[in-house]
């Protein structure tokens, strides 16, 4: 009985040794590269401002200063005020909250569900794999934003409904990539080794395969986040997502659009550009993570 225990000890040592690696911060910086780090920095600043909106924003985002209605930039209102006289800068900062948190939640749900489905398909194989792949194919047959619209049609316009609908739409995008990667890992010798040692399928999946596909999961989640930001903002723009008077970037483009027709483009330009900057940063980071996740193997 001594031989098996020493073997598993040795393996445990190897596993422990593999975990000693350069710090998380350093590897992340290396993976991102210069442009990726700049993008991450910009995104961090926006995220911090959004998180601490109550402290950072100069005004209450809903406070109407009717005298300042449609005014341009001034010392009192750095980016001017919208048609109802609300401070545009403050509304941008508060709007960024929903524009980051909503899609973040969409991707979080889609990633958890997608990864679980993918790991289940890869480990069980056979009929389970066929059934899951088929389910993903059916989900792929509906264009993403349509899921959001369907959810709204049934449960009425609100942020929660759209987030739920879009989360389902993004499941196949995560699941398909992760399934492919997990299948590759599943056929590796280290998995058979763990199996021979008597580890359970669930144990191997979560302690061996999941850590090895983790870079791909993260890269795919970040890449999808950019599209989720666009989809969610679009649904809000259509008036089917976040409801006024809540500050949201998609809604601000819409109300700014009416101001454009009245000769004041600042709100539309500011909200539109902030969306573009957020999506651009997320996409750059996603691209970097994807190419480094590919180069690891």
């Amino acid at each position: 009985m001594t031989i098996p225990s020493t073997t598993s000890l040795a393996v445990a040592d190897v596993v422990r040794e593999r975990r000693v690696r350069p710090g998380f911060a350093r590897t992340t910086i290396e993976r991102l590269g210069t442009v990726g780090c700049i993008a991450a920095g910009v995104l961090l600043v926006i995220a911090l401002a959004a998180t601490f909106a109550p402290i950072v924003a100069p005004y209450d985002p809903d406070f109407p200063d009717l005298l300042a209605s449609l005014s341009g930039p001034s010392p009192a209102h750095l980016l001017g005020a919208d048609a109802l006289g609300r401070d545009i800068l403050s509304r941008l900062i508060w709007g960024a909250r929903i524009t980051l948190a909503g899609p973040g939640l969409v991707i979080l749900i889609a990633t958890v569900v997608g990864v679980l489905l993918a790991l289940l398909a890869a480990w069980r194989g056979g009929r389970v794999d066929t059934a899951i792949s088929w389910l993903l194919d059916v989900l792929f047959a509906v264009p993403g934003i349509v899921f959001g619209l369907i959810a709204v049609a049934i449960w009425g316009p609100s942020l929660a409904t759209v987030v739920g609908g879009l989360a389902i739409a993004y499941v196949p995008y995560v699941a398909r990539v992760v399934r492919g990667a997990a299948l590759r890992e599943r056929n590796m010798p280290y998995v058979s080794a763990a199996w021979l040692q008597g580890h359970s399928g669930t144990g191997i999946t979560f302690t061996q395969i999941l850590p090895n596909v983790q870079p791909i999961v993260v890269a795919q989640a970040v890449s999808s986040l950019g599209f989720a930001v666009i989809d969610l903002a679009a649904v809000s723009f259509l008036g089917l997502g976040v409801q006024p008077p809540t500050a949201d970037l998609g809604l601000m483009v819409k109300s700014g659009f009416d101001s454009v027709l009245r000769g004041q483009p600042i709100e539309a330009i500011a909200a539109g550009s902030l969306i573009v900057v957020i999506v651009w940063c997320v996409t750059i980071i996603g691209d970097r993570l994807t190419s480094s996740a590919r180069s690891i193997r």
């Binding site: 194919d137 059916v138 047959a141 509906v142 264009p143 993403g144 934003i145 349509v146 619209l149 369907i150 709204v152 049609a153 049934i154 449960w155 316009p157 950019g226 666009i230 903002a233 679009a234 723009f237 259509l238 008036g239 089917l240 998609g250 483009v253 700014g256 659009f257 454009v260 027709l261 483009p265 539309a268 539109g272 969306i275 573009v276 999506v279 651009w280 996409t283 750059i284």
Partner: protein, 316 residues
């Protein structure tokens, strides 16, 4: 696999997916809170005649699967239901609007393929700073939502310069083309940027191949090499992305039509959702999904014609 059985299998798969999606669209009604009858009639309540009409249209007195079969039968006969809000047959509503959406998507598809392939090839062959510039522009284009571009285009070219009309889809012919130019541009930017990126990568990879080197050494004209040796061989990734893109345009049109107030399927869908006109919502979603699935299947089939090396049914 030879062509006949392949087509049959492919068509069978297509039918299966369509059957499942139609079942899901049908099932939507039963996901809604409250009874189907109350959901369809909504806060409007309903006269006994309306209740009878809805019960008959959705076959509410029959068991669930009989209901589905009857509903599917109605659709196959072209009966998409009756709109409570418009007091019109849904099929009439849809057929009067499908033209605008079709024109918008086709125009956008043309813009995307011309601009995307041209810019991508140019960037790959020129290299240097023009490559850098186009790659940066493509990255920005890819990050910009269509409704932001739409608002910007209207502000500059319709309100500011007055070159194009602001709203509506025109009276037909050249006038429609005129009205659809800005919407089609707004719909194309992101996809054209993506296609340019894919084209650039494909052309770069292909022009490094030995057969291209051979052609150059043989003294063939650069234009000939690019057209017949490089582009021809890069077509597979380009057509894949182009096909997927056109399929997503169908959904993208929903947003753009609302920015430009075009009377297409997308604006019909959004208005129907807001007015809780469920028969219209169900029918338009069904049309969008069917179009999406069919376009994807056609692209899949086209591969074999573009590249005879790909065996029918294999996916490489």
């Amino acid at each position: 696999m030879s062509l006949g059985p392949y087509l049959l299998r492919r068509f069978g798969g297509l039918l299966l997916v369509l059957l499942v999606t139609s079942f899901l669209v049908f099932g939507l009604l039963y996901l809604a809170p409250g009874s189907p009858l109350a959901f369809i009639l909504g806060p409007r309540g309903g006269t006994p005649e309306q209740i009878a009409a809805v019960t008959e249209q959705y076959h509410l007195n029959d068991p669930f699967f009989v209901r589905y079969a009857a509903w599917l039968g109605d659709i196959l006969r072209g009966d998409l239901g009756y709109s409570i809000v418009y007091r019109q047959d849904v099929s009439a509503l849809i057929s009067s609007r499908v033209g605008t959406t079709l024109a918008l998507v086709s125009l956008a598809a043309i813009i995307i393929s011309v601009v995307g392939i041209a810019v991508g090839t140019f960037a790959a062959l020129r290299g240097g700073w023009s490559d850098q510039l186009t790659s940066t522009l493509a990255a920005i284009g890819l990050s910009t939502p269509s409704f932001v571009i739409g608002v910007a285009l209207i502000s500059v070219f319709a309100v500011g310069l007055g070159w194009f009309p602001t709203f509506g889809s025109g009276t037909g012919g050249v006038d429609t083309l005129w009205h659809l130019t800005l919407p089609a541009l707004a719909l194309s930017v992101a996809s054209a940027a993506y296609l340019a990126r894919i084209t650039r990568a494909a052309v770069l990879e292909e022009s490094g191949r030995e057969h291209v080197q051979t052609a150059t050494v043989r003294g063939l004209a650069t234009g000939h090499i690019v057209r017949h040796h490089v582009l021809r061989n890069s077509l597979i990734p380009i057509v894949t992305v182009l096909g997927l893109t056109i399929a997503t345009l169908i959904a993208g049109a929903v947003v753009v039509e609302n920015v430009f107030a075009l009377d297409g399927l997308g604006s019909l869908l959004v208005r129907a959702i807001l007015q809780r006109d469920f028969a219209v919502v169900q029918a338009v979603i069904l049309v969008l999904v069917v179009a999406f699935v069919v376009v994807n299947a056609i692209v899949d089939f086209l591969y074999t014609f573009i590249d005879p090396r790909i065996a029918l049914g294999s996916r490489q």
